[in-house]
Every structure is written in structure tokens, then in C-alpha cells.
Symmetry: C2
Subunit: 331 residues, 2 copies
Amino acid sequence: MHEEPLFDKLTLIGLGLIGSSIARAARTHCAVRKIAALDSSPRVLARVRELEIVDDASGDVEQALGDADLVILCAPVGACGAIARDIAPHLKHGAILSDVGSVKGSIVKAVAPHVPPGVRFVPAHPLAGTEYSGPDAGFATLFKNRWCLLTPIDQAAFERDHSNADNVAPSLSQRAPHAENDAVDALAEFWKRLGAKVEVTTPEHHDLALAITSHLPHLIAFNIVGTADHLEKVTESEVIKFSASGFRDFTRIAASDPTMWRDVFLNNKGAVLEMLSRFNADLAALQRMIEVDDGEGLFDLFTRTRAIRRGIVEQGQDTAAPDFGRPHEKA
Amino acid sequence: MHEEPLFDKLTLIGLGLIGSSIARAARTHCAVRKIAALDSSPRVLARVRELEIVDDASGDVEQALGDADLVILCAPVGACGAIARDIAPHLKHGAILSDVGSVKGSIVKAVAPHVPPGVRFVPAHPLAGTEYSGPDAGFATLFKNRWCLLTPIDQAAFERDHSNADNVAPSLSQRAPHAENDAVDALAEFWKRLGAKVEVTTPEHHDLALAITSHLPHLIAFNIVGTADHLEKVTESEVIKFSASGFRDFTRIAASDPTMWRDVFLNNKGAVLEMLSRFNADLAALQRMIEVDDGEGLFDLFTRTRAIRRGIVEQGQDTAAPDFGRPHEKA
Ligand SMILES: NC(=O)c1ccc[n+]([C@@H]2O[C@H](COP(=O)([O-])OP(=O)(O)OC[C@H]3O[C@@H](n4cnc5c(N)ncnc54)[C@H](OP(=O)(O)O)[C@@H]3O)[C@@H](O)[C@H]2O)c1
Ligand SMILES: NC(=O)c1ccc[n+]([C@@H]2O[C@H](COP(=O)([O-])OP(=O)(O)OC[C@H]3O[C@@H](n4cnc5c(N)ncnc54)[C@H](OP(=O)(O)O)[C@@H]3O)[C@@H](O)[C@H]2O)c1
């Protein structure tokens, strides 16, 4: 359990569900020697001090960032560009900058231009969360056995491609590719220490894969809960009472943080709309099967969807207990 | 715990998840003195004998039905009409006939014409289930704190309305309404004894309410899992690996029994298609918000959907534990 720390100092920016879970998990697993926290909200920082989950939650930017070896942005996706711009002057040479945003392409576009020479930027996304937010919602085992995707970019190529863009400092030029590789390896070790399984992919592929495994399911859940909310023939109290018959599982997803999800849909628009149009085409076909009483077609589809579930339970991504292992009181 | 039994003999037809759970719960709560089981599948009956959850699983129809006070059809919705026709001659005068089908209007249409004079038919639907089927999947606490909807019909009126239909025996005529009321009360007591909360409504309203709280959520879950199954750009192994980010919760629903769900959609077509068309209209509006970067509109919708979730947790229809209380190993 008490292995050598991987970094001397970790600084987390945004101490909500994810940020505070990283703080707790990093301590539990001795992943770093010291942890500092920054947050735009003094209320959050005050709560973090009460919870005693970091060493420095004073909010002093220079103190928090000046000697940090690993800095992780844990704020909403839409805020990360401005945060990167603001903290850039305070980052130490050799530091690794990362994030946990649920979208990667737009984070790269927003953050990379501000990364100073000598700082290695490695975008990341831990696939773990709950429907709660804020520093009280976090817990040390959130990342255990979950995947964390790293989407490293070729910073040198990025700068070449964007060297005419207004927001790229033209001085940022030659970078050693091996330094980037070392940073990816070091960040991978960090996430493994927190209990996660790590996979490396591109920002573009990440955004496509997450559009189907996360963003579209959330969109659909928000939508169906919205539909139920404005029916005249069925009251809201009936919807709530009878929710255990299926609807309930959508409401947890649809209770997720509105700020986070607004940012996700605005920042992964292309991939989400692509997956949505496939979903719509499939739904039209399914609707047609019902209209024409195609029992065999329905049966075949429902049999295929069972197989995917089996794969998920086998790979340990969910429990095989009935009803998700929800408590059924013993009689 | 050991109260007076409510019925002398209960006979269950179809010993799958629901039927075998009723058997277990009725025993645990001493709701009846004896239980008999019938099933079209000898394999199921053999397993029921091994499990020793009923007193008579011999499969002898006359023996099972001749002296039964309460007979509950627990077979797929599409099978109930034929079962009612076949068992009608064996039902004793004064018996209550019920069912557990997830759709009520079509069950009434299929079963009521076969109900002999002197037998009271009270359709019911316990809103409880898991994604598993068969006699091994059942458990005694399945109905605890769940709703059971009773949808009594005016059998006399039903017969008047359908007296010209081919499949209604014209001899079935005058019935005493108070006998029907007694049967509803008796069945309500039975379900309460099993731990359920009971509500009485009409078959039509049941089918509309369940279309939004159960049938549409299942349809959507089957559909999105189907969409994920045939993408070229994202592999199935990626979908399975990254499922914990939202998709996973849909796969449990989409793993539900194909026969049961085929029957539900074919038998509640009207209400399901009505809810689906509202869902589609809402989804088109949501898609438009994403297309035009309407962050405020998205934020407002996502904030409203959160409130419904709170109602469900407050009414005890779900746990407030993060991630549904799924086990997160302690570090
Ligand atoms: N929740 C999930 O399921 C999940 C999973 C994986 C990744 N993520 C990603 O993790 C990130 C954070 O999500 P979360 O669920 O942890 O959200 P959260 O609980 O709402 O926490 C976000 C924190 O960042 C703070 N913040 C907002 N703007 C800031 C700024 N400009 N500078 C510094 N701090 C700022 C917030 O303060 P205020 O509360 O005062 O605004 C809050 O304390 C997002 O990028 C999200 O995409 C989330
Ligand atoms: N599962 C749920 O979540 C849920 C919730 C509430 C209500 N319901 C309703 O409960 C009923 C049963 O569902 P379930 O989940 O318990 O299904 P299940 O586990 O598949 O059990 C159905 C049982 O009925 C048997 N059966 C099929 N046709 C029959 C026939 N003609 N005569 C006698 N037995 C027959 C089946 O045998 P074979 O296996 O050999 O076919 C099986 O043993 C359905 O009407 C469903 O709508 C289900």
C-alpha cells in the first residue's frame, strides 16, 4: 500500500466530485507527497479545508502552482481554456498539466494554445462518476477498476498547425517528443495508482466512443424524463410512484450536473449529432416494427441486445446482482 | 408474521420470475395454506419441484385448479387468452382469477370472454421485476414496497358490450357487482400481505401510465443498445469497456426477456406509439438546441429533470446512494 509517491506535489483546480475524489484517492494510495487545491468558489475551498482532504486550500495561486509537478484541471469543460490561460504564467518548467474533461477535442483546442514551453500537456478522462457534484460527493474508490483514457497530442504539430492562429504564442516552438512520452507514462502510472485501468487513444476517437457510451445515453435520459414531465394524461405523481418499472434508471442519469452536461453537448456537438442521427434511424425502424406487428423482428432485436449486457457483466463493468443489487429488505 | 392465511389454495400458472416470486412471498408471509403450480414447460415444473417452493407441481390440471380459491396467470401476456380458455372448465365456482401481465387492456380483451359465471376476474400488475427470468430468478422480497396495480373491470358491462362478439359465451349474463368488489378487496389484501402497496385504476389508464414509466424506457434502451451494436467507428469491445459512463444502465434494461417485451409492445401498441411520438418531438427540439448552441435551453431542461429524480428518491422508489449503491471496493 505505501509505495513511493509518484509526484512531489499535485495541484487540483476545481474540487467537485472528480477533483475531490482525486484528492482522496491520491492520499489513500500515497500517490503524491503534497496536494494543493484551487477553486473559483471560496465556499468550495472553505469546505475542502473542513474536510481536510488536501494540504493547502488557501487559494493562493502562486503557492499552489509554483512548485506543482502535476496540475489537473477538474472544472467544467467550458471553463478549462480560460483557466489554462490564467495559470500558464505560474506553472513550473517540467510540470505536467492534465485535465479530466468529458470531452477531449475541444479541451485540446482550448487549452493547448496556452501551454507554455517546458510544460507537458496530457489530456485525460477518467470514466467514473455519479449523479452528485461538489466536494462532499467525492470518495476515494471512485476510480477503482474504471477506465481512464489518456489522449496525448503532438504539441509540436499542434503548434505548427495553429501557428497562424491569433491565440497561439508564436514563441512556443520546438519540443522534444520523448518528453511528451515520459509525461504520458508518468500520468498513466498516477491513474493506475488510484486504481484505474489506463488506455491511450486520440482526442477524436475518444469523443466518438464517448458520444455513444456516455453522451447519447445522457441525452436520451434527459429527454425521456423531460417528456414525462409535461404529459397531461399521466400525472407527475404517477410517474414518480410507478418509476421502478424502468423509468427510475433514466432519472439517475438525468439528475447529473446541468453545467457539466450543457458543456459536454456544446463541446462534442459533431459526434453527438452523428450518433443521434443513427439512433433516430434505428428508432424509426423499431417504431415501424411495432406498427406492423413484426413480433419476430422485435424478438430478434431484443435477443441481440441481451448479449451486450452479458459482455458488460463479464468484464466486471457492472454487478450481476438483480436490480443492480439494490437493497430488497429481507422479510 | 404468522397471520391467518387469506386463501386456502393459490394456483400459479407460469412459474418464471414473477410466478416463482409470488410462490416464495406467499409462503414467507403465510398468505395462503397451499400452493399449486402449472406451467407449459415440464422443465420448469421439474425445477419448481427441486426448489420446493410450492406444494403441488405435479402438473395435474384438475388437481391444481379444481379447489383453487385464487388462480394467477403469470405467463407472457400473449399467452394469457389461450390459457384462460383452457382452464375455464376447471375453475371452481367462487374462485378469483387474476394475472400479472404488464399490459392490461389487451389481457382484459383476451381473458374476460372466457371467464365462467361465478368466477371473478380481477386483472393485476405488480410493478416489480429484474432483468432475469425463470423459476431460479425469483425471490420472496421482490414485491416489498413496490406498487401493485389492480384494474378491475365491470364484467357485466363487458359482457353487454361484447355480447355480439363471436368469442363471448352469451350465457354469461347477470353478475352481482358487490361480488366483484369483494374480489378486488381480497386480492388487494393478498398483495399487501406480500409487501406491496396497492392502487386501483382502469386498464386504459394503467396502459397509458405504464407506456411512459416502463414501456417507452425499455423501447429506448433496446434501441440505443441496438445502435451501439452496429457502429463501425467504435468497436463493440470499446462500448463494453467504456459502458460505465452511462450506457451500462441502459444495458440492464435492454437485457430483459425478449418474449415478454415483444408481447408488451404488440399489446400496448397505441399508448406506446403515442408516448413515442411525444418523445420524438421533444428529442427533435433538444437536437435543435444543440445545433444552435442554445446552452441556456439545455441548462434549463437538465435542471428540470433533476427535480423528478429527487421526487423518486424521496418517495423511496430508489436509493440515494451514489451509483445506485453499486459496490465500490474499499481501498
Ligand atoms: N461527474 C462526472 O460523472 C464526471 C466524470 C468524468 C469526468 N468529469 C469531468 O470532470 C470535470 C468536473 O466535473 P465534476 O462532476 O467534478 O463537477 P463539480 O462537482 O460541479 O465540480 C466542479 C468544480 O469546479 C469548480 N469550478 C467551476 N469553474 C471553475 C473555474 N473557472 N476555476 C476553478 N474552479 C472552477 C466548481 O465550483 P462551483 O461549484 O462553485 O461552480 C466546482 O467546485 C468536468 O470537466 C467533467 O466533464 C465528470
Ligand atoms: N419480468 C418483469 O419485470 C415483470 C414485471 C411485472 C410483470 N411481469 C409480467 O409477468 C408475466 C411473466 O413474466 P416473467 O418475467 O415471470 O417471465 P418468465 O420468467 O419468462 O416466466 C414465464 C413462465 O411462463 C411459462 N409459460 C409460457 N407460456 C405458458 C403457457 N402457455 N402456459 C403456462 N405457462 C407458460 C414459461 O415457461 P417457458 O420458460 O418454458 O416458456 C415461464 O416458466 C408476464 O405477463 C409479464 O408481462 C413481468
